[in-house]
């Protein structure tokens, strides 16, 4: 089965149908999604700030990282589950939405950035753990991470305004940058 077939299957599933007809399901899942993505960003933000050497604290990088990382992953898991559910509600619309695909691509890039950091830069953490200013590679990872996760949030919000679903847009307004429908 190709990707479109899978998307169609998700769109037409009983769960999607239930979410579409239930009054409160989408509102609740949507709120969970906003909360969890904000928590992902917030926890990552404070770790990234430490990578950038700000603020000037005595707290080692690995201790700060350790305190926050479980919250990041828990919130990320919650945002994936709520995100998949939201996607299923309107799978065929999202499938054609450019902002949606840009958001997914940005999450992947953010993941790669994190993976490179964990695999290479973090290996030498013992050398710079207490340093006020971590090495350039760590600072770059931190800066990229902030930019990428802010982009994920922006693109996510943009989906809501380009999918023609939960916000009414005046008809004469050119606001849609989704792909032409098939």
């Amino acid at each position: 089965m190709d990707l479109y077939g899978l998307v169609e299957l998700a769109h037409n599933s009983a769960l999607s149908e239930w979410m579409r007809t239930s009054l409160k399901a989408v509102a609740i899942i949507n709120a969970v999604h906003v909360l969890s993505i904000a928590t992902v960003f917030g926890t990552i933000f404070f770790v990234d700030l430490r990578l950038l050497g700000y603020p000037n604290v005595q707290r080692s990088f690995s201790r700060l990282h350790h305190a926050l990382v479980r919250w990041t992953w828990a919130a990320f898991a919650l945002s994936v589950v709520s995100g998949v559910l939201l996607f299923m509600v309107n799978a065929l619309t999202y499938y054609r939405n450019t902002a949606f695909w840009l958001k997914m691509a940005t999450i992947v890039i953010a993941g790669v950035n994190m993976l490179i950091f964990e695999r290479f830069t973090f290996r030498s953490v013992a050398n710079w753990d207490q340093a006020v200013l971590p090495p350039p590679a760590a600072r770059l990872a931190g800066a990229l991470s902030i930019v990428l996760w802010v982009s994920v949030i922006f693109l996510g919000r943009w989906i809501g305004f380009t999918k023609g679903y939960d916000f009414s847009i005046p008809e004469d307004v050119q606001f849609d940058f989704s792909l032409p429908s098939e």
């Binding site: 509102a27 909360l35 904000a38 917030g42 933000f45 949030i153 305004f161």
Partner: protein, 168 residues
């Protein structure tokens, strides 16, 4: 209130906001980014009060670490929120979620001010292990801000959530 909202919605300022269609998603995005900073600041302080993290650091230092982020991000959210509300005043005043959210924010801000004063007054004294009451207040504070975030998102779904309680 509805008359005021209708008047506000027709003012040149509101019309200017409404006509710039990129402005609403832009401000909403900034608003969500700031939710992350505010909520995680609250979470860190609350978990510290509960004795779950940063126990090697005095409470007042944890407060000084996060309070500036909490207040400044909250300030940005007040700004973006105000512009969003001026852009869609009728939508806001008819949403029960909006009014409950504003009331809970008032509770959150007053309790944060009170908490900050208490912590700073107690700075330098020996810290006792967290009492049950302190833990309960910390958990309640986390849930308070969770409720604020939920209600914010629910302004767009006010009829679905509140049904006949919707004020429109």
């Amino acid at each position: 209130m509805f008359e005021f909202a209708e008047w506000l919605g027709a003012t040149p300022l509101s019309v200017a906001i409404q006509s710039r269609l990129w402005l609403t998603p832009l401000l909403q995005s900034i608003h969500i980014v700031m939710i992350g900073v505010v909520f995680v600041s609250i979470l860190n302080v609350a978990l510290r009060v509960m004795g779950r993290i940063r126990t090697d650091e005095p409470l007042v230092e944890v407060w000084h670490r996060f309070a500036p982020w909490f207040w400044s991000s909250l300030g940005v959210m007040a700004g973006t929120g105000l512009v969003l509300a001026i852009g869609e005043p009728v939508r806001e005043v008819s949403a029960m979620s909006f009014w409950v959210k504003m009331s809970l924010i008032a509770v959150g801000v007053v309790s944060a001010l009170f908490f900050g004063r208490t912590v700073m007054a107690a700075a330098g004294h020996e810290e006792a292990p967290p009492t049950m009451a302190a833990r309960v207040v910390a958990v309640a504070t986390i849930f308070l801000w969770l409720a604020i975030i939920f209600l914010g998102r629910w302004i767009a779904y006010d009829v679905e959530i509140w049904e006949s309680w919707h004020l429109g």
